[in-house]
Symmetry: C2
Subunit: 244 residues, 2 copies
Amino acid sequence: MAQNIYDDPDFFRGYSTLPRQILGLAGAPEWPAIERLMPALAGKRVIDLGCGFGWVSRWMREQGAASVLGIDLSENMLRRARADTVDTAITYRIADLETLDLPEAAFDFAYSALTFHYIANFARLMQVIHRALTPGAGFVFTIEHPIYMAADHPGWMADLDGRKIWPVNGYAMEGERRTNWFAEGVIKYHRTMATTLNAVIGAGFVIERLDEFAPSDRQIAEMPELAEERERPMLLLVRARRDP
Amino acid sequence: MAQNIYDDPDFFRGYSTLPRQILGLAGAPEWPAIERLMPALAGKRVIDLGCGFGWVSRWMREQGAASVLGIDLSENMLRRARADTVDTAITYRIADLETLDLPEAAFDFAYSALTFHYIANFARLMQVIHRALTPGAGFVFTIEHPIYMAADHPGWMADLDGRKIWPVNGYAMEGERRTNWFAEGVIKYHRTMATTLNAVIGAGFVIERLDEFAPSDRQIAEMPELAEERERPMLLLVRARRDP
């Protein structure tokens, strides 16, 4: 089963202080780029894989989704998601995406944010999602970018001019990466860009659009520390479609 | 028009000493990965964009292609391609891919190796190739990887353990990159992975498979200096298909 770091009390306390957990979508600088990838949701049955506090689950209902099923591994996350949600067309369920099973053709759109890099068996999960979607259904997900995750020591360095560089090594060596992020030994799984997208295609999806999130001039004016996200790709956003 | 560095005498002299120019396909470590992406070629009319000395043009005829049109900007390259080719079903033509025009639906397969990163207007070129292909036709190309090209100073550095790292900066800042490679001021164009693949999709292709070339154990045993290509992605290989 996937590591359930979100139910580690220290991790959860730290994680809950992130702007995106306090402000919701307004605290996630990549949200405008995600929103541009989103299809019309009116009347659609939607699944939100790794829904966390349910910010996007609720947003999708506001866009007219008929129903939203939010899935997460963490009791902490879902307790707050339930407390923050009054809409009865949104349901939350605890499940491990490593072993998840879903009914066939039960959803018209699948969404996942910053979750799949915790999953060891990504190809299996793509097949499960593909089977759970109706023909032609959309699928939008975000992950930490493979270039952000690959290195032994993923932290800024400086080049000979003193300009920031992001270090890359071990890129072709896929598998577990342990980092310290609000807790020691948070486990993520590095896969190359090719492995990631080939798994999506191999499950029967068509890649429709990619985005690697870079902040706009306006975002940098409002939050100058975001400028460093033009130096490296930190996030990968994918819009795909289930074959008809 | 694209910079014609291959007709610079110093560049051409240096470039001609590369193993891949002396040994042909056997001197290109990524060739086995390219070969795995290649479709059956028997009876197909093929175009080879940036054909250089014609190594792959000749290989495609050996695989049964009905005809091959090799295109290159460099007179030096095509002079040797013609001298090395006796097969009259292969023709070579000088043209600039920045302004190339091709007849509609004239080819059943398009190939290009390590050429498109010299092209400023990549989206236009994708449209030209799409229009020149028959419905359902295959398209395989390789480019220098965006991660390899992005940085101000694209050269190995060391991390705090002394392990090699490849530096990345300026990733989201697309456009011209000048490097010194056999000559001063060789001009390439950096585009992100997303921009590259979105241009392919936007022209009407379906992405079928990606590869970022990493050497096999056997390749490293035969040529230990290749091991560093597991640390960084140096090449991007794409197999796409024109929509039917």
